[in-house]
Symmetry: C2
Subunit: 318 residues, 2 copies
């Protein structure tokens, strides 16, 4: 495989899926009668909380790492991430036998820091804003010669994230819509591409916290908008879109829904209580959107990407 | 099927399994590389937290309900239970179209009370001790003509609980030991019977909180002992053995291990964090025992019955 310099094609996503197969789990699709009754819809949850490192990010990181040349890879992989992408890059590096250098905001959940260190990565902390992340990373890359793997704004990463929806579509019959959360947009754009390629005709929706609704405003205005605060419990969704993810999202999505913090916590609790699975707050955002939009989802068979399960049990919102 | 008046045979358990198949889920067996590494063993978790009503109790309640005659069943089912058995009897009654009358201690977790009411059962609260439960139930049965389904000391219930281990043994190759938690002993005695019948030669272990170690003391002394306190977070394991469950446990078990409250909470947290599944405290007791007894379990392939996932998220121990 060579690095991708274009929006991933159906064939690119197929090739990626075969290449990363040994580095990821094929996660189950679960359903829950009592949540279906509340939603008035048939929901099929793609459980990326059971993915390696506990989140879909392993798909994109392994995809990007595998598309590097030996020369690019030999000094290691580097990235900045609030957590799940950090673990994904760390584990990908370990599986490929090269070092990992990770820049993390000093507000990152303890469980994510510990897990990243557990995969043997070297961590550099920085202030919790985009500029601090990028400048710290730049310095680290200059010092080590490692190759930067962007958390989302990278076609190789997007091709990896697309494999989650590809599996969901292969494993679930008769879906009418697919919905995913939007942070930087890697999972969302990959989900949209796979759905358009492998199940044309389905609706593709995104869901985002009201408090960090950059994707919603970008989608509606046609130009990338930025978040002015990061005031959401959904710590995986605080980042802004990149130009690559925005282009795909703008072309391919049918709509984006925003949800309140209260609705996110309620949906998260509902999944824990009824499905007996641990999901992180970011992961509950699409279900919160479905429950708030019965006029869109009622009576439909909907695929829901549950993005991850790395939550700090010492800091639960209930 | 007729009511059982003897220790269930292999054939009784097979018949029961076929009869209750439409009333239960065949739950998955999961494994977790990082917990295996910590235990130094290969653990296969039978996930009864994904069972209907969120716990194995659905197996025993549906088994007992199905073995009643129409005349016995027509005035409804009744029981006393700290929670999971209550939900199981309530759902079994609903599936069979008869009323359910449930006596619950007033200290029962809110989520269990709400769920039992959700299945349409009529709940009568009582003080949190065995005597109050039994006298309140007796009165209720006299008033309604409902049939009492004992939570554990009933061969029909034991035959149902035995089907969890039967499935685990069918779905997992090369097990060397099986371990289950012990409360009243229904799950434990059923697990022991299925293992002896369907996989002779395996070790069968029980696990119990140190704070309510009646089964441990009964097993070691050869006579039923009682708990003097109920001071454990494992709310499903506070009850004493019955004479039917004790007889099977004494005959069939290889050993019983007791574990501290700290070890229970740590094992529970480990499963939530690493496996991303919600289990209740009672459910963590066998894993706590495995982690505390490396001399017994090291290098072994061990089946672990995860008994349930009904936990009050508003009252977590971390």
């Amino acid at each position: 495989m060579n690095p991708l310099h274009h929006i991933p094609t159906a064939e690119d996503i197929r090739t990626t899926h075969e290449a990363i197969a040994s580095m990821i789990h094929r996660t189950p699709v679960l359903s829950c009668r009592s949540i279906d009754a509340m939603a008035g819809a048939s929901l099929f949850f793609k459980c990326e909380n059971f993915q390696k490192i506990g989140a879909f990010k392993m798909r994109g990181a392994s995809s990007a790492a595998l598309r590097l040349s030996d020369a690019e890879r030999k000094n290691g992989l580097a990235t900045h991430s609030s957590g799940n992408h950090a673990q994904a890059v760390a584990l990908s590096a370990r599986l490929l036998g090269v070092p990992a250098y990770i820049v993390m905001p000093d507000s990152s959940p303890a469980i994510k820091v510990a897990a990243t260190e557990g995969y043997g990565a070297r961590i550099t902390f920085c202030a919790n804003n985009q500029q601090a992340r990028e400048s710290t990373l730049e310095k680290l890359v200059a010092e080590t010669g490692a190759t930067f793997i962007h958390p989302y704004n990278d076609y190789n990463v997007i091709a990896g994230q697309a494999t989650a929806a590809k599996e969901l579509l292969e494993d679930t019959e008769g879906l009418e819509a697919v919905i995913a959360p939007i942070g930087g947009g890697g999972l969302m754009s990959g989900t949209a591409l796979s759905t358009r390629y492998f199940a044309p005709g389905l609706k593709v929706y995104g869901a985002e916290p009201k408090e960090v609704d950059d994707a919603y405003r970008s989608f509606k205005s046609g130009a990338i908008q930025h978040n002015t605060t990061i005031n959401t419990i959904a710590d995986g969704l605080r980042t802004n879109l990149g130009e690559k993810t925005f282009e795909i999202i703008q072309q391919e999505l049918d709509d984006i829904f925003t949800v309140s913090e209260t609705a996110i916590v309620a949906a998260m609790r509902l999944v824990w209580e009824r499905m007996k699975i641990v999901i992180e707050p970011s992961c509950a955002v699409p279900l919160a959107a479905i429950l708030a939009q019965p006029e869109v989802f009622s009576g439909k068979r909907v695929g829901v990407i549950l993005s991850g399960g790395n939550v700090d049990l010492g800091k639960l919102p209930f």
